[in-house]
């Protein structure tokens, strides 16, 4: 390989320092800039990062965010595949039902098993109702609003270069994301379960429909936690001056992910709305 300039070294094994680093290596380091920078979490600006420009570091970080989103897309595709596959196969007709007991298990515990010392009646096939698609769209709407707020905040920051004005916007987006998070928890609690018994144990179980909904909403919940973390971070960083009018790149990185979460929420809501029950 022909190179114009290169570091030349001719160090033999005998010259190694005890820790495996040559004296020449240390010299080379001392002459050079510091290590690090270019890291996903903001080492690139005041941390130095090999004297690279913020634009270069930003480009690299943006690629990383896109790749992480790509990985997240694969997981979403897997989740939707799971939902559609289970619905399509409808194993033994149990997509939305299961052999168990209607009603709340406490009624069985209190009235039959413990109080009266009796035994459970024979189980029957119990069906569950589909979750509310409207509620799903509500959560999606709230998520999309939070994404819109952060996007508007970014645009305003880039236009006005006023980092202080960005603080309340980031805080508002965070609060809206937290609302979405709480709504998702409410939604999770509404997923229908069925009281079943097996091997002398009684417990609440999910049909394959409820299971697929559970994991989709669980994934959404995880996303909301990440958004809340990122939103809080942006707020604190902007208030501390780490994000400034000239250093707005991280806001864009966060916005990319935020928008993706909103889009994924729309996709899930659309699938659940249009492909719900078997018939």
């Amino acid at each position: 390989m022909s190179i114009d300039t290169h570091a030349d070294g001719d160090v033999t094994g005998d010259e190694f320092a005890e820790d495996g680093r040559s004296a020449e290596g240390n010299k080379a380091h001392d002459q050079e800039s510091h290590h690090g920078g270019g890291e996903g979490h903001g080492g690139g600006d005041d941390g130095g990062g090999h004297h690279e420009s913020p634009e270069v570091v930003d480009g690299r970080q943006r690629m990383a965010v896109w790749l992480f989103i790509g990985g997240d897309m694969v997981i979403l595709a897997g989740l939707l595949f799971t939902y559609l596959y289970l619905r399509g196969t409808n194993t033994e007709g149990h997509w939305m039902n299961m052999v168990g007991y209607t009603g709340h298990p406490w009624s069985y515990y209190n009235n039959i098993l413990f109080v009266k010392g009796g035994s459970l009646p024979n189980p029957t096939t119990v069906s569950v109702n589909p979750v509310s698609a409207g509620f799903y769209w509500l959560v999606t709407l709230v998520t999309a609003v939070s994404a819109g707020i952060i996007w508007l905040g970014e645009k305003r920051l880039r236009a006005s270069r006023d980092a202080k004005a960005f603080v309340p916007i980031a805080a508002l987006a965070t609060v809206v994301a937290l609302v979405a998070l709480v709504l998702t928890i409410v939604q999770l609690r509404q997923i229908p379960e069925i009281f079943v018994t097996q091997n002398d144990s009684a417990y609440m179980a999910y049909t394959s429909y409820s299971s697929a909904i559970l994991v989709l909403e669980g994934s959404a919940l995880l996303h909301m936690f990440v958004l809340a973390f990122l939103g809080l971070g942006l707020s604190i960083r902007a208030s501390r001056g780490v994000i400034s009018g000239d250093k707005w790149y991280q806001v864009r990185l966060v916005r990319l992910f935020w928008v993706w979460v909103a889009i994924s929420s729309v996709i899930v809501a659309a699938v659940i709305t249009s492909v719900n029950t078997i018939h």
Partner: protein, 621 residues
């Protein structure tokens, strides 16, 4: 006399690191144990002990506690928390995290220097191979003759499962881990990886996952093979929970690592280092990383679903609630077959690299080599159902999947074309890396051709689940990938240590392992062809001769690997000094001092030619 500037630098450096100054592998283990205990305690106090899934829930939470504590103890949360609080790393912090002036202690810390991470990967890989190898020997010892001698079927199955998964993990990182970290950034003229802290995160997360995986043995093991097909997983004890959690954590590690490698290659190449000028190993690193980004999220997903089925009574894979085991099989093999090429591609790329340097010739048809690696990766995501030919799932899709699987032999054939074309009429320097590379070629031919048979549905119907399949993939993994991994180690060992890997011991090791592989797996082919099933601890007497031969072969392999271990230990401290460029290669990693300094280059190089433009006759010694 100390200048004011130097004094300031030392003073500044001494302030760096913050909490990381007190964190290392010891604190990671201590915090892991502490958190695991706390999670266990809380789980025992708060969960319903009469619940069907009580033991699973407690075990899963214990595992979560371990990994969270481990991350906390090693310092993985420092970066995110500092980002959250707006306290970004200073220059002194970055220096500290890079392990500057920390001696050997930096190998036990959350060090960001890519070369340290590369060495850490070497150690982790050797550890995993050691544990997996011991399990292999236990398996072969049990199979030395018909009947149960040392362990019962359950324990034997636990050995099989752990051996399989540990070896898969080890081989996934065996080449990409050490060398995509240690040499790849230097090869492309970068000062470090794109995201040094993510690099450390990837490594230590792997350590956390591996420890979880090994701990499966302590809670009753795993008795259904490493593919853990549902719904039989329901019958396993709590070992399944730790296993699934280990895979989830591993998927996080590989995703983070994959993102880092891809970003590094695409955005950090030095001036003039076009994608057509990068050493061929770099293409191997990027294709394997990109493929991992596609494959391992499926691995994560399928194990999350397993955990949910076991812990909160969902019905993904349980037919009573509308689930199906075929969902698990599909999701698993969507990952499972690309994973084979995640393992294989860097091995092939290493052999291209060694063939070119050692024969003093350019890589034959560089673009074909690249196209073969990219094509193989692309095709690998379209073949997953060939693992399910005999399962009864979608028989009408058998034909198309047979075709896609057989098409894979085209890019695989191109690998051989490129390798042989590169070596053809070259003045091949038969040093240690070269002979291990030739071992790769020989074994890969056998492993590859037997794979073509297995892709054919009628033959697969006969041979599925037999020792023939086991022999086939061991020729790929042991005979090919492991040989390439040792070739890579021998090739870049001088760059890591400044010393040659002991040539004499290395050759003894080669011949022992090479002969051992033939003895072991050719005999295993015969067992399979005669109908011996996999995963049984006892067998009919008609298989006794071939099993005895296989076990003898396994012991020969083990002795060869022990000799190799001895060679590594001896050479690391007292090997023959090699100088910075012992192979007279042209790529950048050989142009920097040995060992490379902290940021690799004093002055950033500008590339004007490809790395295989050999003008001078190699000086051979």
């Amino acid at each position: 006399m100390t200048t004011t500037l130097e004094h300031t630098a030392v003073e500044e450096e001494s302030k760096g690191g913050g909490l990381a100054r007190h964190q290392n592998a010891g604190t990671a283990v201590a915090c892991g144990v502490l958190f695991a205990f706390l999670f266990w305690l809380v789980a025992r106090k708060t969960l319903d002990p009469t619940g069907e899934a009580f033991n699973d829930q407690v075990t899963t939470l214990l595992g979560c506690g371990w990994i969270i504590g481990f991350w906390f103890g090693i310092g993985a949360f420092n970066g995110p928390m500092r980002w959250l609080l707006g306290r970004d790393h200073t220059r002194a912090d970055d220096l500290y995290y890079a392990g500057h002036n920390q001696g050997r202690a930096r190998y036990w810390k959350y060090t960001t220097d890519h070369k340290v991470v590369g060495v850490q990967y070497i150690i982790v890989t050797m550890g995993l191979l050691g544990v997996g190898g011991m399990l292999a020997m236990a398996i072969r010892t049990e199979l030395i003759m018909p009947g149960n001698h040392f362990v019962n079927q359950q324990v034997y199955n636990a050995f099989i499962s752990l051996h399989g998964m540990i070896m898969i993990l080890a081989l996934i990182v065996a080449i990409a881990g050490p060398w995509a970290n240690f040499v790849m950034p230097i090869m492309i003229g970068a000062r470090d990886m794109a995201f040094p802290r993510l690099n450390a995160l990837s490594l230590w997360t792997l350590v956390g996952a591996a420890s979880l995986l090994v701990s499966v043995a302590a809670v009753g093991g795993l008795t259904m093979g490493w593919v853990v097909l549902a719904p039989i997983t329901d019958q396993n004890g709590v070992g399944m929970d730790l296993f699934a959690l280990a895979i989830v954590v591993f998927a996080v590690s590989s995703t983070v690592g994959g993102v880092n490698v891809v970003c590094t290659i695409l955005t950090m190449r030095t001036k003039g280092m076009t994608l057509e000028r990068v050493p061929i190993f770099v293409w191997g690193a990027i294709t394997t990383s990109a493929l991992a980004l596609y494959a391992f999220p499926f691995f994560l997903l399928v194990e999350v679903l397993q955990l949910l089925d076991r812990n909160v009574a969902t019905s993904f894979f349980v037919s009573g609630g509308g689930g199906t085991g075929w969902l698990q099989a599909n999701l698993f093999w969507l990952m499972g077959h690309p994973e084979v090429y995640v393992i294989l591609t860097p091995a092939v790329a290493v052999c291209f690299e060694i063939a070119a340097v050692m024969s003093r010739k350019p890589v034959f048809s560089y673009r074909t080599a690249v196209a073969a690696m990219v094509g193989l990766s692309g095709l690998s995501i379209l073949v997953w159902a060939h693992h399910m030919f005999t399962s009864g799932w979608a028989p009408t899709l058998g034909g198309p999947f047979m075709v896609t699987t057989e098409i894979i032999s085209i890019p695989t054939g191109l690998f051989f074309l490129v390798l042989i074309g590169t070596l053809w009429r070259g003045h091949v320097w038969m040093k240690l890396p070269t002979i291990w590379m030739f071992g790769f070629i020989a074994n890969f031919i056998i492993g590859g051709i037997t794979g073509i048979y297995l892709s054919d549905i009628p033959i697969d119907n006969q041979l599925h689940g037999t020792m023939f399949v086991t022999a086939h993939f061991h020729y790929i993994f042991v005979g090919s990938v492991l040989f390439a991994a040792v070739a890579a180690l021998a090739f870049w060992f001088p760059k890591v240590t400044g010393r040659f890997l002991d040539e004499f011991l290395g050759r003894i090791s080669f011949w022992l392992v090479f002969i051992g592989v033939q003895v072991t797996f050719l005999a295993m082919f015969v067992s399979g062809l005669r109908g011996m099933p996999r995963r049984v601890s006892s067998y009919s007497v008609i298989f006794d001769h071939t099993n005895l031969i296989t076990t003898i072969g396994a012991y020969i392999i083990m002795s060869g690997m022990l000799v190799l271990l001895g060679a590594i230990i001896k050479s690391w401290g007292h090997g023959e000094p090699s100088g910075p460029n012992p192979w007279h290669a042209n790529s950048l990693e050989w142009m920097v001092p040995t060992p490379p300094p902290l940021e690799n280059f004093d002055v950033m190089p500008v590339i004007t030619e490809d790395p295989y433009n050999f003008r001078e006759e190699m000086v051979r010694s």
